[in-house]
């Protein structure tokens, strides 16, 4: 790999590039790749390929007559020019706006967007002044997204990191299959929120619909209002002092804390009763078959 220059790689086909980079000989012998940290690694804060952007360099795009693809390409082009604050005006409920942004950026969307908005992002801070459709912030890796109004179902589906905040209420299956990160809902959340949650934290300031945390494997859910019902294997737990400090900090950060503080929040975790399926009891087997 070391003997191949970037210029040479550019002249190759993908097949040739993959072979030249030694990726054909990789042996997948287990989970471990036996890579060790380099203690003397240079202090960098962004990916080597990330564009250098300046938060003080700001621009606006009137997206009214543009397609989603045009909008997303324009965002990338502006980032390559060093724009660190981009304002999207008149989004008209377009789907998949602002997806796949993999570096630092301030993105402000003035209006409402449709399905799968700002999904697959890794780093940007996004503020949406209107509403969002289904699966906002889906597969988000890092960064923050703040929605001023309401959101649709499967809000933050499969999120892996970062803060996804909706000041209003959200639909059902919020944080389905979430694998990390924090989802904060200022209002209520619908049924089956936290379904198959694997880790991360969900905070609901209002009420939660039925089957909260159904089949959750791990992670934590905090609910400030009433819980219609807990799902299978979701159980209440005691809040620690560290939990309270974290909750206070997080809600203060997004202006969602009220005079009651955080003591009234109920903590829900996995009961870990569904962790093993390898040795089902005969009666349990009967129920399934």
């Amino acid at each position: 790999m070391a003997g191949v220059s970037d210029a040479e790689l550019k002249t190759m086909t993908q097949e040739e590039r993959v072979t030249a980079l030694g990726m054909r000989t990789e042996q997948l012998t287990g989970r471990s790749m036996f890579i060790e940290f380099d203690e003397a690694a240079e202090e960098r804060f962004t990916y080597p390929w990330a564009p250098e952007v300046d938060f003080n360099k700001r621009t606006e795009i009137d997206t009214g007559e543009m397609t989603t693809t045009e909008v997303n390409r324009k965002i990338r082009a502006l980032m390559a020019e060093g724009y660190g604050t981009i304002v999207l005006k008149d989004p008209r409920g377009k789907h998949s706006v602002g997806t796949g942004i993999l570096s630092r950026l301030n993105l402000i969307i003035e209006g409402s967007i449709g399905y799968f908005g700002v999904g697959l992002i890794d780093g940007p801070n996004v503020r949406i002044t209107g509403r969002v459709g289904w699966s906002c912030g889906e597969n988000m890796m890092s960064g923050s997204v703040v929605i001023e109004k309401n959101a649709g179902s499967t809000f933050g589906a499969a999120i892996r990191g970062g803060d996804l905040v909706c000041r209003g209420s959200v639909g059902s299956r919020t944080g389905i299959d979430m694998k990390g990160g924090t989802i904060i809902v200022g209002g209520d959340t619908g049924a089956l929120s936290g379904f198959m949650m694997q880790r991360g934290r969900m905070v609901v300031c209002g009420n939660a619909g039925k089957n909260l945390g159904d089949s959750m494997y791990d992670g934590t859910i905090f609910v400030g209002g009433e819980i219609k019902s807990l799902g299978v294997d979701a159980v209440e737990a005691e809040k620690t002092d560290l939990d309270k400090a974290w909750l206070t900090r997080k809600l203060t950060q997004y202006g969602l804390i009220d005079e009651r503080g955080v003591d009234h929040f109920t903590k829900v975790v996995s009961g870990k009763m569904l962790w093993n399926y390898d040795n089902l009891e005969p009666t349990e087997k009967k129920m399934i078959l």
Partner: protein, 137 residues
């Protein structure tokens, strides 16, 4: 209810998985020869009083107010060695043996976060190679 129940062992000591790499404590774990569950507390939230200067600077550069995605990063253990799970390569990255580990999980987690950020942003991260090979745009 379908399924059985959690038959793993609890984490009792910060050095538990360094002293006992296999971590077979419960009867079930001994029976199957495999540790059940994580080798660290995935639900442990960070203590911000222990944040390091490097992480403070990282937060500032990114324009965040807290550790953001790093809240989910913890120091874990692979085959008795301290390691951090890197989601971008779906594998463990080991902490060199000569690095002295702090005596508590919170400080170890901060160290893990620092090491992971430096590694992910370096040219030697495998994602750079993958990007060169497969990037479409």
């Amino acid at each position: 209810m379908a399924g059985t129940q959690y038959r793993g062992s609890e984490i009792e000591d910060v050095d538990q998985f360094r002293k006992d790499a296999k971590g077979l404590a419960s009867e079930r774990e001994k029976e199957i020869g495999q540790h059940i569950g994580y080798r660290y507390d995935v639900n442990l939230v960070p203590d911000y009083e222990r944040i390091t200067p490097f992480l403070k600077k990282y937060i500032e550069v990114m324009g965040w107010d807290d550790l953001n995605w790093l809240e989910d990063i913890h120091m874990g253990y692979e085959e008795g060695a301290a390691a951090v799970f890197d989601r971008n390569i779906n594998g463990w990255v080991r902490v060199p043996e000569h690095i002295e580990l702090p005596d508590n999980q919170q400080d170890r987690d901060m160290l893990a976060r620092e090491l992971l950020v430096k590694f992910q942003m370096s040219d030697r991260h495998p994602l750079g190679t993958l990007r060169k090979a497969y990037s479409k745009f």
